[in-house]
């Protein structure tokens, strides 16, 4: 079957297999920032924004995004690094970096909805994004820093 959708402002018209998951389609189209880590909707590494809302691409059917708007991590650094990306670098919040694309996509969502989150709100909102390297401390610091940066912009 054929579907048409927008990824990072670019329109794609692609032939897909029935039952194909969005992560496979996106990676096939070259959006390698979408990471495959668990396939069971439990780690958040494959997160993308669907019409501005973070979803797990490993459990979203590509057929379901026909006519919709997808944003991957790449969209957020189109004009230089975003405050979250900058803050991750400053705070050491990205070690191996494998979970980071999904984290960035979800954290952008958080700050859109809640420009001044508390530590607890950050932990709750990003609970679905696992990281094995950092112990989360530096990532929390990074989101707090990025929130402040965004507010003062």
């Amino acid at each position: 079957m054929k579907v048409e959708f927008k990824v990072d402002e670019k329109i794609h018209s692609v032939e897909i297999e029935p039952g194909e998951m969005l992560i496979e389609t996106l990676r096939r189209l070259g959006y390698k920032g979408v990471k495959h880590a668990c396939s069971t909707a439990s780690c958040g590494s494959c997160s993308v924004q669907l019409d501005g809302k973070a979803v797990l691409s490993c459990t979203t059917f590509t057929a379901a995004v026909d006519g919709h708007d997808i944003k991957t991590v790449e969209a957020f650094s189109a004009n230089g690094l975003s405050p979250i990306q900058e803050a991750l670098l400053e705070e050491g919040g990205s070690q191996c970096g494998f979970c980071i694309p999904g984290f960035v996509v979800t954290a952008e969502n958080l700050l859109e909805e809640n420009p001044d989150p508390t530590e607890k709100e950050i932990l709750d909102y990003l609970k679905g994004n696992l990281c094995r390297c950092t112990g989360y401390e530096s990532q929390t610091r990074a989101v707090l820093k990025a929130a402040k940066e965004r507010r003062t912009k």
């Binding site: 920032g33 990306q85 070690q95 979970c99």
Partner: protein, 776 residues
């Protein structure tokens, strides 16, 4: 000569420079193994054994091979029958040679049976389903405590096995050491504590699954891109198996923690590429990464410790049993580290014994995992010392501090216990364990907190406070080598070529900082290229807490040699004596103020003057392995109605020498703490009766998620290790050691219950709470 350097003396080192690979990572650039697309690459899948122990009676691949789009199906009949160890260690490895790419016998649920290569994943999976295998199922050992039972099935009966201690009795390795008479000295002690402690087969659960990709380059050179911590060991072992030399490239690695210090996926893709001449890619699923790669060695330790009433620790006696699973990679060395990286901490004892067996069982193989045995050994040892202090009525900090090692001292264990062989003597040149304990206690408010009431009957919660002391090492001395090459460019930049393997730790960055510091330049002028066996000098790889120390020293020596070469060239150009010149701010300056910048020097050397390329290579092997030290403080809150334990605060006070990059060093400790808190409280593998791991994904195998741990803090002691690059020691592993015992000690402090098995499951703790009548 413990000299404290202040920040002012460094311009690049001891600064929180951003990771050199950081920008690409936060942008989600295609830098990991699975992100590389080679046109026409076959997708490789592995058919795995459903039985824990079985012989393949027959295997029929004819139908699968005929399926359209299938390139090949390989069984044990089609791959070299070469025995090897999957352990990525220095050669000759101290691990038994007991593994084949594919064998007629399968030894755990998940062991490889056949390699399928097809044009797509779907076709490969389709083909996998129609391979017909007839198994002769053998009795299996699922519980490693029964591996040495009489009449236990023999797991490794292959005639080719070598290096195993007693494979007929399922003993992969055995180790024993003793100093003094343990029983006699224990009899003289006023206080003795004995206990049996268990640590689990924790999964690394790095976010990036294992994976590898192989192809012939245009000149016919076999090339392997792989998510490995040990590219040079991978190349050597692939040569052993297939008789083919190849190039191994390590791209960015999505976490390893020791799990990628083994040769796992590479032989499968190489077998396919050699057979078909086509590129081949194999990326493990999460389930394969969980159940068919490797885990931490589960261990049981029977610990006896004894002290005299003057507060002196006199005896440590550890008898262990370690589960290496189906294959013996890292079996001996991980077990030895359980002693060699814990016992020297207490160097004033009269008698010490460390003995045990590392046994095969029909479970997922164990391997290297952050801490490499030390967390297993320390859980029992530190728990027992805590109990001993309690029995004696002494504060555990006071007791452990009184008996621990100091600067200028040594331990005979350094010489006795190495990695798989004898160790090396060493005098401790940097040890700030007193500061760690005393300042840490202050910041944690240890003494105030220990006066607080522990049990709140109204809220049905209890609070407890525990402490643990740890040491680790920095490198495997006299064995592991790292090399570094520095090449100067005509724009004033330098290529830093290193075999050292950044697996997310930031080692590329800290090695660039070391080079920049020596060369009086900035990190932006150091172009790091790491881990490509055809392009970079040898390095043992990323393990044994050695990259900062060994590779760091190699880089420092190379940069010093480059400094000499630059000054020599400048002397020729400026016609001034060498001893009147020095480096300053990307230039060479003379006593009388004349200046020539790096760019001008190399440009002249390229085109117009005494023409040559400035390039140097240096190697480093350490004679010692200076331990970092860590004192960790845990505050737990226990729900008395459920047994659930919450870590309220976990404070680490660490002596890792000078931190080359404080933010990255802090991240190493924070991450290790979280991983070890996972092992202490959440992470538990469950087997079904056939030996299959049921907990094979992130739903069922619970690693700490955001919010599961309330607070992890890291403080650094001011310390300078004279043998380290700019005073540095290792930092990445030690944080793994303390959470297990610190949390168990805190639980004991809260409710008087001594938990001796990790993970401390809420249901187990709840039953203990009930027994004590604290639940109502």
């Amino acid at each position: 000569m413990s000299k404290i350097f202040t920040e002012a003396q460094f311009s690049v080192v001891n600064r929180s420079i951003q990771k050199v690979d950081g920008k690409a990572l936060v942008e989600g650039k295609p830098v990991f193994t699975d992100d590389f697309e080679i046109p026409g690459a076959l997708i490789v899948k592995i058919l795995r054994s459903p039985h824990a122990h079985a012989l393949i009676k027959s295997i029929d691949t004819s139908e699968a091979s005929k399926l359209k789009g299938v390139a090949c199906v390989l069984t044990y009949k089609d791959v070299p029958h070469t025995i090897y160890t999957r352990a990525g260690q220095g050669y000759p490895e101290p691990s038994p040679y007991d593994a084949f790419v594919l064998d007629r016998k399968v030894r755990y649920v998940g062991d490889a049976v056949a390699i399928i290569a097809a044009e797509s994943e779907q076709i490969a999976e389709e083909a996998m389903k129609i391979i017909k295998v007839e198994y002769e199922v053998l009795p299996a050992i699922i519980d490693y405590e029964h591996a040495m039972d009489e009449n236990a099935p023999v797991i490794h009966d292959e005639p080719e096995i070598s290096g195993a201690y007693d494979s007929k009795h399922n003993i992969a390795s055995h180790y024993e050491m003793k100093l003094g008479d343990v029983d006699m000295e224990l009899a003289k002690c006023d206080y003795v504590v004995e206990g049996t402690y268990y640590t689990p087969n924790q999964s690394h659960a790095m976010m990036e699954p294992h994976g590898a990709l192989s192809y012939f380059d245009p000149n016919g050179r076999l090339t392997v891109i792989t998510s490995t911590q040990v590219p040079f060991h991978a190349r050597r072992i692939l040569k052993r198996i297939f008789g083919v030399n190849c190039r191994v490239i390590k791209p960015r690695i999505g976490g390893g923690f020791g799990g990628k210090q083994a040769i796992l996926v590479e032989p499968y893709v190489v077998a396919v590429t050699l057979k078909t001449r086509k590129p081949a890619k194999c990326i493990y699923t999460r389930e394969e990464t969980m159940t068919a790669s490797n885990t931490r060695h589960a261990m049981r330790f029977n610990v006896r410790v004894g002290a005299t009433k003057d507060g002196k620790l006199q005896v440590m006696d550890l008898r262990g049993l370690s589960n290496t699973g189906a294959y013996g990679e890292h079996s001996l060395t991980v077990f030895m580290v359980a002693g060699s990286k814990t016992l020297p901490l207490y160097n004033k004892i009269k008698a010490v014994r460390f003995v045990g067996d590392i046994v095969y069982s029909n479970t997922e193989p164990a391997g290297a995992f952050r801490g490499y045995g030390a967390p297993q050994g320390l859980f029992g040892l530190d728990s027992a010392l805590d109990e001993l202090a309690h029995k004696m009525g002494i504060d555990p900090i006071e007791f452990k501090l009184k008996n621990s090692i100091r600067e200028g001292e040594t331990s005979p264990i350094f010489r006795i216990m190495g990695e798989g062989r004898e160790g090396v003597e060493q005098i401790i040149k940097s040890c700030k364990i007193e500061e760690c304990a005393i300042e840490g206690a202050k910041q944690f408010r240890w003494y105030e907190k220990r006066k607080l009431p522990r049990i709140d009957k109204k809220k049905k919660i209890a609070h407890g406070y525990g402490v643990a002391f740890a040491m680790q090492g920095s490198s495997i001395p006299a064995i592991d080598m790292g090399g570094a090459t520095i090449k100067m460019n005509d724009d004033g930049t330098f290529n830093l070529l290193i075999g050292a393997t950044d697996l997310g730790t930031g080692s590329d960055t800290i090695l660039a900082q070391i080079a920049a510091e020596v060369l009086h330049t900035t990190v932006s002028k150091i172009i790091v290229y790491s881990s490509d066996t055809d392009m970079t000098p040898f390095d043992k790889g990323a393990y044994a807490s050695s990259t900062t120390y060994v590779s760091g020293n190699a880089v420092k020596h190379a940069a010093e040699k480059m400094t000499f070469e630059i000054i020599k060239a400048a002397a020729e150009i400026l016609k001034k004596p060498v001893d009147t010149l020095k480096l300053d701010d990307d230039s060479v300056i003379s006593d009388d103020g004349e200046r020539i910048n790096f760019s001008d020097i190399q440009t002249q050397l390229f085109y117009t003057f005494n023409q040559r390329q400035l390039e140097v290579t240096e190697s480093f092997v350490s004679e010692v392995s200076p331990p970092p030290y860590l004192v960790s403080f845990a505050e737990v809150e226990i729900d008395l109605e459920t047994g659930k334990v919450k870590v309220i605060d976990f404070l680490n006070y660490i002596d890792c020498g000078v931190t080359i990059n404080p933010v990255l060093a802090r991240g190493q400790v924070e991450g290790a703490s979280a991983q070890a808190i996972g092992m202490a409280l959440f992470e538990d593998h469950i087997f079904d009766k056939n030996g299959r791991i049921v907990t094979n994904d992130f739903f069922t195998y619970k690693i700490p998620a955001r919010g599961d741990i309330m607070k992890i803090e890291v403080k650094f002691a001011e310390s300078y290790e004279p043998t380290g690059p700019f005073g540095a020691k290792s930092v990445s592993e030690i944080g793994m050691d303390t959470p297990g015992p610190a949390i168990a000690n805190a639980i004991f402090d809260a409710i008087g219950v001594r938990m001796k098995r990790l993970p401390i499951k809420s249901e187990d703790l709840f039953f203990e709470i009930r027994k004590k009548g604290l639940d109502g």
